[in-house]
Symmetry: C2
């Protein structure tokens, strides 16, 4: 190994928005390879909103990251040494090895990447967790029909951009919501959404209503907060709301009660709405369908994606804090190491 | 016709709980039979919680009853005269002819009753709308699995009693909630639920928790209010909540924001809950399955039902006001006329 392994650990639990001192970059000693284990060198690290939830010491769908433990995250890695029959030295794999340059993990939990499907970074992007989140949440829960209106926020992001493009493939109208003119222009002009509204616009709610003259049939919920406030009255009878994330409230420090909340059950009943929370692993059995469809859509140019790359492991905390504030533009990746050493 | 036709109309929109002056009993002149129309004599009138919503001048899944218009409701009727090829004089039919002794309706919207399936009153009870509401909401949305815990309120009522008994047929544990010892004893001892809690008990929430040691997998929501308050923290990961009714809040005059509301979206996400509102007509295609299964279950004694009958059309307002307060015990019916005249 040419350089000492480095990792970023959770130094403190953030109160509200994370700050630099909540993270700590440190050297560490790589453990010996045990039976069935492999040594991984991290090439790409994915940064995703769900990580904010893992920084809290609270019940969620997954255990929190412990103080002084390495921050978790999906990665694309090269196998540098293997004591496992599952993978061999030189293999490129998907791992969940976190914010570190090297790691030792069990070989049999790794998934090999097929480089013929696309650039290896897409294994944690459009052909990975974010893409599959969009695919399963939209198709299995949202179930858009031709002619229906699908609304998604964070529409220039990894999940949102895929949601809208899949909706259009299924014949639905896609309306995006994003932060700022540059992102909205990209969503409309490059991705082909019918419209994209800037949630920072003071007239956002009125413009969203105008952009959805037939109401909203599917709202893919990945932000929460004030965006949902504007969406709620526009929901049609029998609307479906896959609840995938609530990035706007991940850093809330108290339970706030939004205006719509008191009406929520009544509206679920009268409009016969479906709300269903999910995470991508709930649909693990759909992985084959997803890879088959999405790799074709990407190759045919029907689904475009954008990557937003920062360089070096030490860039991860700032990039992550920016992601929570919407500063990224496209799938947020950290280039931890070169493709080949 | 031996007696002048009588009907009960909506005299005023109730503010809060309905009171006697919101209804008016009046004579009226029967219109002539037009082409395709039939004259119906009401035998049984069903009283149901949804009627409270129809009394409000507010958006719901159905238009409100107009002031001075006859209160709506499901009925079992005898065809007294027919200008329709669909039904003949003497036929027994299901209608939605409302709170009146006679009515003139189009023949082709009527559904003939098969008296071999059970007493004709069951056509608006266990073999009718309430039974099918329980069947479709529980099976199509709730989807209980063997060993899971299903909780239902108003458990001695027409819908709730069927929900719990169908859950048990599917191998699930049924826990009921009802008002008062007599109803709870019936639900436990006659219907065979694992337990039934009195929501008036000051220790209700703690007792519900104790009765659901493995949490709640399906909560069939037909009451709302404080019962849901107690249910909410007990919901398991992947719990399903068919939202069928909110009787506890039908007479609310202001939008109150319950304590759980601010946490609702977060909990939907982290526990991957499914909330889905429905009314029975959303599942019209399941009518054949329902009648086939339920008529067998009733004949085999696997599903028991109880009727709570008041005598005469003029008893309907007081019976309905009592229903909203939980004074009924079993399916609330009004005997409007004899089986045969």
């Amino acid at each position: 190994m040419t350089a000492s392994p480095k990792r970023i650990v959770l130094a403190a639990r953030p109160h509200g928005e994370p700050k630099p001192s909540d993270f700590r970059l440190e050297d560490y000693a790589m453990p010996e390879l045990g039976e069935g284990q492999v040594l991984l060198r991290t090439i790409w690290l994915s940064l995703d909103p769900y990580m904010r939830g893992r920084m809290n010491d609270a019940a969620s769908y997954s255990a929190p990251v412990a103080i002084d433990a390495v921050m978790e995250g999906g990665t694309v890695c090269e196998v540098m040494a293997s004591n496992s029959d599952a993978v061999a030295k030189g293999d490129l794999v998907l791992a969940h090895s976190g914010w570190q340059t090297y790691s030792v993990v069990d070989g049999n939990i790794l998934r090999k990447i097929d480089p013929s499907l696309g650039p290896i970074s897409t294994g944690i992007g459009i052909l990975g967790m974010p893409g599959m989140t969009a695919y399963t949440g939209l198709l299995d829960i949202g179930q858009p029909k031709a002619g229906e209106t699908v609304v998604v926020a964070a529409a220039s992001g990894a999940v949102g951009s895929a949601v809208g493009q899949i909706a259009m493939i299924k014949g639905a109208r896609a309306v995006g919501i994003a932060g700022g003119k540059e992102k909205c222009d990209y969503v409309k002009n490059e991705l082909g959404f019918s419209d994209c509204l800037d949630h920072r616009d003071p007239d956002f709610a009125a413009k969203l209503k105008a952009a959805c003259p037939d109401g909203i049939d599917v709202y893919f919920e990945n932000v929460g907060g004030e965006v949902f406030e504007a969406v709620f009255p526009l929901l049609n009878f029998f609307a479906r709301i896959p609840v995938c994330g609530l990035i706007a409230s991940y850093s809330d420090t108290a339970d706030t009660t939004p205006k719509w909340a008191g009406k929520m059950m009544r509206t679920i009943l009268t409009k016969r709405l479906t709300f269903r929370g999910f995470i991508v692993s709930d649909f693990a059995g759909r992985r084959g369908d997803f890879l088959r469809d999405m790799s074709v859509w990407v190759k045919e140019g029907k689904v475009k994606y954008k990557e937003f790359v920062t360089e070096g492991l030490d860039s991860a905390p700032e990039a992550f804090m920016g992601l929570l504030k919407g500063k990224n533009f496209g799938k947020q990746l950290v280039r931890v190491g070169p493709d080949k050493v």
